[in-house]
Amino acid sequence: MSQGPRIGVFVCHCGLNIAGVVDVEAVTEYARTLPDVVYAVHNRYTCSDPGQEEIRKAIKEHNLNRVVVAACSPRMHEFTFRRTVSEAGLNPYLFEMANIREHCSWCHPSTPEAATEKAKDIVKMAVAKARLLGPLEPIEVPVTNKALVLGGGIAGINAALDLAEMGFKVYMVEKKESIGGHMAQLDKTFPTLDCSICIEGPKMVDVSRHPNIEIFSFTDVLSVEGFVGNFKVKLRKNARYVIEENCTGCGECRDVCPIEYPNEWDMNMGVRKAISVPFDQAVPLIYRINKDYCIECYKCVDACGDRQAIDFSREPEEVELEVGTIIVTTGYDIYLPEEGNVYGYGKYSNVITSLEFERLILAAGPTGGHVIRASDGKRPKVVAFIQCVGSRDINKYPYCSGFCCMYTLKHAIQLKEHYGQDVEVYIFYMDVRSNFKGYEEFYMRAREMGVNFVRGRVSRILEVPENKNLIIRAEDTLLGEPIELEAEMVVLATAAKACDDAAEVSRILNITRGTDGFFMESHPKLKPIDTPVDGIFLAGACQGPKDIPYSVSQGSGAAARAATILSKPSVKIEPIVSVVDPEKCRNTRVKCGICARKCPYGAIRAEPGKPAEVIAAMCHGCGTCVAECPADAITQMHFTDAQVFAQIEAALENNPEDKIMGFCCNWCSYAGADLAGTSRFEYPPNLRVVRVMCSGRVDRDFVLEAFRKGAGMVLIGACHLPYDCHYIDGNWKMKARMEALAKMLEKLGLTPDRFRVEYISAAEGVKFAEVIRDMAAKMKEIGKERIKAENAKLKPFIDRMFARKGR
């Protein structure tokens, strides 16, 4: 570019979100004084149409070739403004965002002056980086127009059917033997009381018959590699010891099998044979031998006869798939109160969970649809339902599980319908939450049918030893007095919790989980189906408890989102890849290859005698190689050393010893800082953050430079060990590097507290605020004088080190 940088700065009020705390006029005024800034203006809503138009106009009128928008988090609107500037003919990568909302106004509401000073610094850092930005062209990669749906519940079924109808090949992977999910376990569905399997069964069959859908049931996902449009998925098909193609599903083998074991599908209330299907409507209808129980009498082999479907020598089989998008629909699990719970679950035989009740009242269930007590097989005359067991409980799961009120109403109505005046029904509730269409009417119906509602939390349940009845002690908060009720059966509406292997799925797919354990969406309102990973979407209860209609709509929604990628022949990926300078690379002279070894994706080739080479399409842009390169020969586009150095310099120009220099990875700790802002957790305004894609990008030189420039404290924020890193193991590489550096700095006289590495997830806004509060307090404790003295002692060492490197 022949012309020098001409920067335009646009400061956003965001209504009062920013302007209510930060003096935006002062910030704009200040921006005008910064080098190369030729235009600065403030606007009520920069992201609105007129706001964007103003940017486009200014680019033309003032011949701007760099744009800085000081507004919200780049995780929110960077993409919006990149599009805006490109519409005005500017390369989108000549845009930079200054996060003065989540990282400033929202978290410093009571110190507006300090917040304004911080906002100025943030703008200064953005301008400093903007001056060094270069134009980049997005990398186009081809799209494999197939999709993977992970989980065969009702959400997954809908996502798969929709995509298949659009003409895309869909692979559905289900961990269990049959698809159908929890919905297939239910009897009736609220509020219309239609039979669950009667409405889901046909859909399950549709999935199995659809020419575009291939089901992998009883299958685990081992690994997922790649990126949007180009995922490589490794599966393990567990051995059923039944040859799928030969099994006709006739069930003759089951009839001769002598061994019974508890059926998980029936919540272990009923039994199944060692060769069996979990339930009659299972899809695919392929029998399975459970070798944990099978005694290998081979009676089934005889019964199967000429069909020859049984093969005891089967081994688990690994399958590799290539897909363009992944829809995660792994669902939820039911919480079971642990031993010693106040409800006596597991101790008293007539205390059961709602899902167990569901299997009881189901005609195909273990009791043939008769609601009977486990203790004596008699029909209970008084049934008490207890709500919010585990849910809305700060000691267990603080969230509301959402659908329990409705299914309890359904159970109450069903009991009344079956047994009329012959059964008394009590519901102990905290609040009845019956929003959505037809739900409130359903609630009224239960009331009209004579169901007794008691508002209050149950404190204890005791068993009458003689007749195994249950004494419920609770407080009726409407009457304001303690009550006691003798019931013959107690049904607990236990919480819906994140499924047990959510942690495993989150590790394999690199998608984050919230503090509640459910998967986190990209944005709670505007991107409820997206994950932070491009090309991976969420639907159904894996994102949080959801009822059937909600899960169905999300399944279809996810299909539509996936189709936006699958329908195109190629997809653009961010060109923030690494580039090796062949002149500087040591590999030509010595046997180096460090970058190739450290790259988590194997995207670097370092052949002896030749300079290392980055395969752009395989590079995910973490920048770990850049930080690891001993010759500083690698540059990460858009996150160059020079740009980060400029940001450090800008941040620490004034009063550096008062400041905490932070390097935060985009996916976890930067997002955690955003969440701290969104949640309005206040912390001292000393922090200045440089965003990097991965903590693995944080070069030792960044930390040294910060101290050389006089920083009071340095913080590196990373994803949690061991598996949370968005780039497989960048955080581990950073850890190794920084542990060595911390030792060295300590030897050189640095107070160890002044250099911190913290692991903060995207869900840990609280932790982020706490860390900063703690660091600010420590910084005060250490004192300016000591910081200055230590820095002065460090400086010559760092100077010498940098001089050797030619920095």
Binding site: V256, I295, C297
Partner: protein, 299 residues
Amino acid sequence: MACIPGMGETVMVMKLLKKESENELLVERIMYTKHYRLVLQKNWCIGCEICGIVCPREAIETVKPVKVEGENLNPPSITVDENKCSFCGICTAICPFGAFTLTVNGENVIPVVEKESFPKVIHDITVDETKCPVDCIECQDACPFELIKVSADKTTGTVKVEVDEEHCPGCRLCEVKCPYNAVTVRKIVSGFIKINTDKCPEGCRDCVDVCPIPGVLNVSDDGKVEVDDFCCIYCGVCRIVCPVEEAIQLDRSSVLHTPVRSGAWNKALEKLTSTKGVTKELRSKLTAKVRETVRRRVG
């Protein structure tokens, strides 16, 4: 509450219980609609290894007795792991002493026998009562388990000999002791036993103490242990308690059982006897089958 192998942590079994009293070991699986009970009656159990060897889930273990100086050694005991037991009934079917009972919802059943996937051992004792004189109760006295009851009607001179076959391991002591050759007993387990007395520790008579059949193991005049294997039931208790390895050589060769064709039985038989034992049985079955086919064809 307990977890079932091969399943997630989130589903609970109604109840898995184990109760032990002086007379009984009780293992229960109580589910909503089904109640499984496996009872080991300790008065019948001699603590041998047979059920432990054949249990397909390795749920049964033989616990070695603790030796008390100066006292006779007690026989070993049996313990069942309630978390492993799948209530298949194989132990019930195989026990030569009939020490196990399995009930499902209160009814006596042996699922593996019912579905013909495992045989029952045959207890075969026949007494020709016509040979019996009125005043003879030799067999009743001879039975080490008190399974025989002789009653005589002095007026008619008829003798009735009742045998509790279910609990009879077929040691043949009654047959040996009968002076009139009136009793015939088929051995349940056939085999071979030899004691390598060179390896016996000085003065050890543990095996003699625990042997359930009197007279099978004796201490001879020179202090060495002798075997009279005519009455041996090859239960293997002696080998369990023997402190020295390979001092007792015990091989089972066949088991008397109801006819059944099943992989589970072949496996159990192989574990009880040897590969040779199974091959032999399979070959004889094959011969029988060939004979049967020929007979059918020839008429």
